[in-house]
């Protein structure tokens, strides 16, 4: 599956957006400070609310993370692992930019 999400410029550096997949699944797409894009499942596993895209981006000892807007747990953007509770992880979604367009590169 290769889903067109939006124009890359719709996700300014330092922010995230949510995308709705045809399956009903939600993906949070982040534009990290170094220019990289990352995709994670949008649902915050601690609260069950689909809100991770609205979290604040940053790093924890160099690891790029997003902090859930609900209760501030941080997730590694590259692996989906929760750095505050390594037993918890969220699904990652590979995203890529081609010709100014952001795609969800899927299995």
């Amino acid at each position: 599956m290769n889903v067109v999400l939006c124009a890359a410029e719709d996700v300014p550096v330092g922010t995230g957006v949510a995308a709705l997949l045809p399956t009903g699944e939600q993906v949070a797409v982040f534009h990290y400070a170094d220019g990289e894009f990352y995709g994670l499942a949008n649902t915050d596993p601690f609260s069950g609310a689909a809100v991770l895209s609205r979290g604040i981006l940053g790093d924890h000892a160099g690891t790029p993370v997003v902090a859930s807007p609900m209760h501030k747990q941080r997730f590694d953007l590259r692996t989906g692992e929760c750095v505050d509770d390594p037993a918890v992880r969220v699904r990652t979604h590979p995203v890529e930019v081609r010709g100014g367009t952001l795609y969800l590169a899927g299995p």
């Binding site: 996700v11 797409v29 609205r54 918890v88």
Partner: protein
């Protein structure tokens, strides 16, 4: 375990509590069962802080930790049950309720206020000043007395008399103080200092009559008429006697124990009376003939007796009788041989009439410090006091001169110097706690050594000792910045950096996080960098600020329009009702006098705002670390008790400070009279109307750690009120820590409320002009944030749930009905552990 013995304690004041506490700590195998007879109806409380009771009438604030011995089966505290007699032969005490045998008896009955034999001293309206009950009685009398000119007389111009005068002034009375001696605080202060003290006290609206006495008091209808020895007549609501204290040695006299030359139960240096089973401690004791009217020697006596009860030996040393007056805005301190009575003593005086300060050191021929007096500026007191009996570290004049360079630092103190005199804690005790027990901040030093837990005057030195031991008291915001919020504020202000990116690359490390980003966003907003969602700022904001609404548990948001002062027209109420119906929002009246609309999705927010903004509403900043509401009571317009227009003032203040970004939320209130229906003293700043103006209280908090606000200025006009609040808020916004409300901020401020008053009322730092200008800039620059989004298509575009499906709401959000309103369907929390 050895056989248990019975310890009986007569009296439960601060000193008795220290005794029981210490015995219980040392007596690890339960040798002693303790019975405490207390005359007052409450457990021992902080009598030293009695005057602060007037700030909130909260007896709980004076409580001494653990003084009720709850859950300790070995301590029986009998409140309101004084010891009536002691039978030494049979070793029993008798109270109203029982007769009890003892193996050891400790008298800790304190003292009573001395009431000179003035004719009329028993009239209703005459009070003493020693207990919480005394203050309650004074307060009740003040409330009974009518409006109009209200005055009170304090008989006695010593330390306690001046404290009483302050309390009466805070109660809205004009106090007069009569002192027989030619100067105030004759015991502690010399003539030079006394003159200045009188001027400073007079500035506080206290009328001082020295070198005269109170001849008589007469009833005059329901008022009192006092005639002074110099012929002055005073028309009064009440009289408070504070002319010294007399040790309560009645029990000792009754059972034939010796008393000292000036009263007090005569004891030796280990606090034993002539009867080896009976001890006396605290203010009722005459240790080798001397009675001490302050708490520190009492604590030393309590600890000495506790040690003896557990088989040790201990004697009390010559105590430190230094004093510092805690009177509003006037610094007075005296220590050691303040009157240069030692042979060969020399005085070095430094008086600055313009700055209003008088400082004197007493030294001997070898420049050993013997004592000193400070009036007007006691900043050197905590340090110099500790040097008594030791050679001065420099030339006396240079130690006193303002910033004379020669000032002493904590490093100059010898290890044996007593830093905390209340609890007899030396510099060495403190440095050991820091270096060997790992105390790394003031709070842990206090907990570990007890220093700073009584009068508090040594607290600033604890911080300095931490510094001098090389302990970095970390105030860093997070792993990305080694600075405190206050330092970041200064950096941003000085460098005029306007983006987080530049700030973190030049002054921090990494790419930031959910702690520093919102903190910096708040600083940028305070310094006026446009709409909070402009450019890069959007990504710095917490979700609430980013969506200008409050996130709820299911990912929906709530909307709170501003309703200044809680005043709203029926027409506007209707608009809120219509919007709530149209968007199916759960509707609730908040605790902050406004209306909260819950359950909006991100897509709906701008549509809801459009309707509200068109009807004249604006954002209520329920989401931001900013001014929330200025709550008001109905005030003089309607209320039969109101003395000022509290609603009008609340609205003016709310409109003035709306949108001001701050370290934490700011709440305020205005009450129309002292009945305080707006609960202003629970707010960051609270205004209470007076007959002729307003009282301003600051540093209140509800929430997790409630605290009453304290009086900052009284009876000011509206203009002064607003100017003072302007400066208070700006100083707070610039200097507080991240997520620090004003209550802990003031508590941590070096010098506390007095320092705050110096900065924003007296302009000691010379920054008021800048604070005023900053507030003016805020007021001029204010714009509604909701409108800002509605008018900017780019910002508006961010209000969609999905970037690839604008207009589609989040399908996981759904509602059910409860009590006729929509509420979130609880989200199943996915299995989170892997």
């Amino acid at each position: 375990m050895s056989e248990t013995r019975r310890l009986v304690v007569a009296g439960h004041g601060m000193v008795a509590h220290r005794l029981v506490e210490t015995v219980r700590k040392l007596d690890t195998d339960g040798q002693w069962r303790i019975t405490v007879f207390a005359e007052e109806s409450r457990p021992a409380y902080d009598r030293v802080a009695l005057t602060s009771y007037v700030d909130g009438w909260d007896a709980g604030a004076l409580a001494l930790p653990g003084a009720d011995y709850a859950g300790d089966p070995l301590v029986d505290l009998r409140l309101g049950d004084p010891v009536l007699a002691v039978d030494r032969e049979r070793r029993t005490v008798r109270s109203a309720s029982l007769e009890l045998g003892y193996d050891a008896l400790v008298l800790a009955t304190g003292s009573v206020p001395f009431v000179p034999p003035v004719p009329g001293r028993d009239l209703p309206g005459c009070f003493t000043y020693r207990t919480i009950d005394d203050l309650d009685a004074i307060r009740a009398a003040v409330e009974r007395s009518g409006r109009g000119r209200r005055a009170a007389l304090v008989v006695g111009g010593g330390l306690l008399g001046l404290e009483a005068a302050k309390a009466l002034r805070d109660l809205g009375l004009s106090p007069h103080v009569v002192e027989m001696a030619p100067r105030l605080m004759p015991l502690q202060v010399d003539d030079g200092g006394g003159g200045l003290l009188k001027d400073l006290i007079t500035e506080l609206d206290v009328t001082v009559h020295t070198a005269t006495t109170t001849e008589r008091i007469e009833a005059d209808g329901d008022r009192l008429l006092a005639t002074l020895g110099n012929g002055t007549e005073l028309d009064l609501d009440l009289v408070v006697f504070s002319a010294g204290i007399r040790p309560r040695d009645d029990l000792a006299r009754g059972c034939g124990l010796d008393v000292g030359p000036r009263g007090g139960v005569l004891v030796d240096s280990s606090c034993r009376t002539g009867d080896e089973a009976v001890y006396a401690i605290g203010e009722c004791a005459a240790v080798e003939g001397s009675v001490y009217g302050i708490v520190a020697p009492g604590y030393a006596m309590a600890e000495a007796v506790a040690a003896q009860l557990l088989g040790g030996q201990a004697a009390v040393q010559e105590p430190d009788t230094s004093t510092k007056l805690k009177l509003l805005g006037v610094d007075v301190a005296s220590f050691g041989d303040a009157h240069a009575r030692t042979e060969g003593a020399r005085e070095v005086v430094f008086a600055d009439a313009v700055a209003g300060s008088y400082q004197k050191l007493v030294v001997d021929a070898d420049l050993t410090l013997l004592g000193g007096v400070f009036v007007g500026d006691a900043s050197r007191y905590p340090l110099l006091r500790t040097l008594v009996g030791k050679p001065l570290p420099g030339d006396p004049a240079s130690l006193l001169a303002p910033s004379g360079g020669g000032g002493v630092g904590v490093d100059a103190l010898p290890p044996s110097a007593q830093v905390c005199s209340c609890n007899a804690v030396t510099k060495q005790d403190i440095t050991t706690a820091i270096l060997e027990k790992g105390c790394s901040d003031v709070a842990s030093v206090k907990a570990c050594t007890r220093a700073g837990t009584a009068c508090g005057s040594c607290v600033p030195m604890l911080g300095k000792l931490l510094d001098s031991c090389g302990v970095q008291q970390s105030s860093a915001v997070c792993e990305h910045f080694a600075f405190s919020r206050r330092e970041l504020f200064e950096i941003v202000q000085a460098t005029r950096i306007t983006t987080f990116g530049e700030l973190v690359s030049k002054h921090g490390t990494g790419s930031g996080c959910a702690i520093c980003k919102p903190a910096v966003a708040s600083i940028l907003a305070t310094l006026g960098n446009g709409h909070i969602l402009d450019g890069e700022q959007a990504g710095l904001q917490d979700t609430n600020d980013r969506f200008l609404a409050n996130i709820q548990r299911n990912g929906s948001y709530s909307v709170v329009p501003r309703i200044p002062g809680g005043e709203i027209t029926p027409a506007r109420l209707k608009v809120i009702a219509e919007v709530a119906e149209e968007f199916s929002l759960y509707t609730k009246i908040t605790g902050g006098q406004r209306i909260d609309l819950f359950g909006a999705t991100v897509d709906q927010l701008p549509l809801i705002w459009r309707r509200l903004v068109d009807a004249g509403f604006e954002s209520g900043h329920a989401y931001g670390k900013a001014l929330r509401t200025v709550k008001s009571c109905v005030g003089s317009t309607w209320c039969r008790y109101g003395v000022q227009d509290s609603v009008g003032m609340a609205i003016e203040l709310e409109l003035r400070y709306r949108g001001l970004r701050s370290p934490h939320k700011i709440k305020a209130a205005v009450s129309g009279c002292a009945r305080e229906c707006a609960e202003a003293r629970g707010k960051d700043f609270g205004v209470i109307a007076t007959e002729s103006g307003w009282n301003l209280y600051v540093g209140g908090n509800g929430g997790t750690t409630p605290r009453h606000a304290e009086l900052l200025v009284s009876d000011v006009d509206s203009e002064t009120l607003i100017r003072t609040i302007d400066r208070f808020l700006m100083f707070y916004v610039r200097t507080a820590d991240r997520l620090q409300r004003t209550a802990p901020w003031i508590e941590e401020l070096d010098g506390g409320l007095d320092h705050l008053r110096e900065v924003i009322v007296d302009d000691r730092l010379g920054i008021c002009e800048e604070l005023d200008a900053a507030m003016a800039k805020h007021v001029d620059g204010y714009a509604d944030e909701w409108r800002g989004v509605l008018e900017d298509p780019e910002k508006l575009a961010r209000f969609s749930s999905f970037v690839n499906a604008p207009g589609t709401p989040d399908p996981t959000i759904s509602f059910r009905t409860e009590r006729e309103q929509p509420v979130p369907v609880l989200l199943g929390v996915p299995e989170v552990r892997t």
